[in-house]
């Protein structure tokens, strides 16, 4: 699956990183708690979240993630998008809720850390 496929599956808008849509991703995680992402995530390269602040992008950066998807139409500000660009992290936005967005990606074959 690529970041572009995620965009299609979630009916998402690309807010940053149009040039990264061809990048492959192997697994994902969904959480509003960055504490949990930092403690439990291993190799997942996509983060789906309803939390919107710069620490979401920072967390993705620390974990070497490639893509952040904001759910429920949450809109990151310009500073967050600049930060994401600087670290080659694609930023997507979908109107779907967290559960639905994760479910769609999982059903399409994008796994979590535990299978």
């Amino acid at each position: 699956m690529t970041i572009g496929d995620i965009q299609t599956l979630l009916g998402a808008e690309v807010l940053s990183g149009e040039d990264l849509l061809g990048q492959p991703v192997l697994s994902a995680c969904g959480s509003d708690m960055m504490s949990d992402v930092l403690a439990f995530v291993k190799e997942q390269s996509v983060l789906l979240t309803g939390l919107v602040n710069p620490q979401v992008i920072r967390t993705a950066e620390m974990m070497d993630m490639r893509c952040v998807v904001f759910v429920r139409g949450k809109k990151p500000d310009g500073a967050m998008l600049t930060l994401a660009k600087a670290h080659d992290i694609a930023v997507l936005q979908t109107p779907l809720r967290l559960y639905t967005a994760c479910g769609r990606l999982y059903a399409a074959g994008l796994k979590g850390e535990d299978g």
Partner: protein, 143 residues
């Protein structure tokens, strides 16, 4: 690896009043380690340790100073603050133990997972804390 006499040392200030900017020190350290050719796994572990520590300094201790050294074999991260101190470091290392407020949880932190995560990712970690004076945390990563 490289000769021990060549020690890299960097210092970062962590602003305690700016949650938005938190993570800047960790980000700069990550870039530094990458430029020094440190293997990705060691960089990842160092970044997690530093970032958890940096966020803690911002949300629990009103900021502080971070120092990173690399001698070619070991990354040493020292985090110093003049915050309230940690009354019981053993307790703070326990998963789920947190004094964070709901306001902090609304920012995506405060699950009591940070200190155990630092301990897990560092090869060594020491906590020195004095109530009402501050906390010094030293973490090392073997490359």
């Amino acid at each position: 690896m490289s000769a021990p006499e060549h020690i890299i040392r960097e210092q970062y200030t962590v602003d305690g009043d700016d949650f938005q900017a938190a993570g800047g020190a960790s980000s700069a350290m990550k870039k530094l380690l990458r430029s020094l050719g440190v293997p990705p796994d060691a960089i990842r572990r160092a970044a997690i340790c530093m970032y958890e520590g940096e966020i803690n300094m911002v949300i629990h201790a009103n900021g502080g100073e971070a120092e990173v050294t690399f001698d070619g074999g070991v990354i040493t991260m020292t985090l110093r603050d003049t915050g309230p101190g940690i009354p019981d470091p053993e307790l703070a290392l326990r998963e789920g133990w947190s004094t964070a407020t709901d306001a902090i949880r609304d920012l995506g932190f405060g699950a009591g997972m940070g200190m155990p995560n630092m301990k897990r990712n560092a090869d060594e970690m020491t906590i020195n804390s004095v109530i009402n004076q501050g906390t010094v945390i030293v973490m090392t990563i073997r490359v």
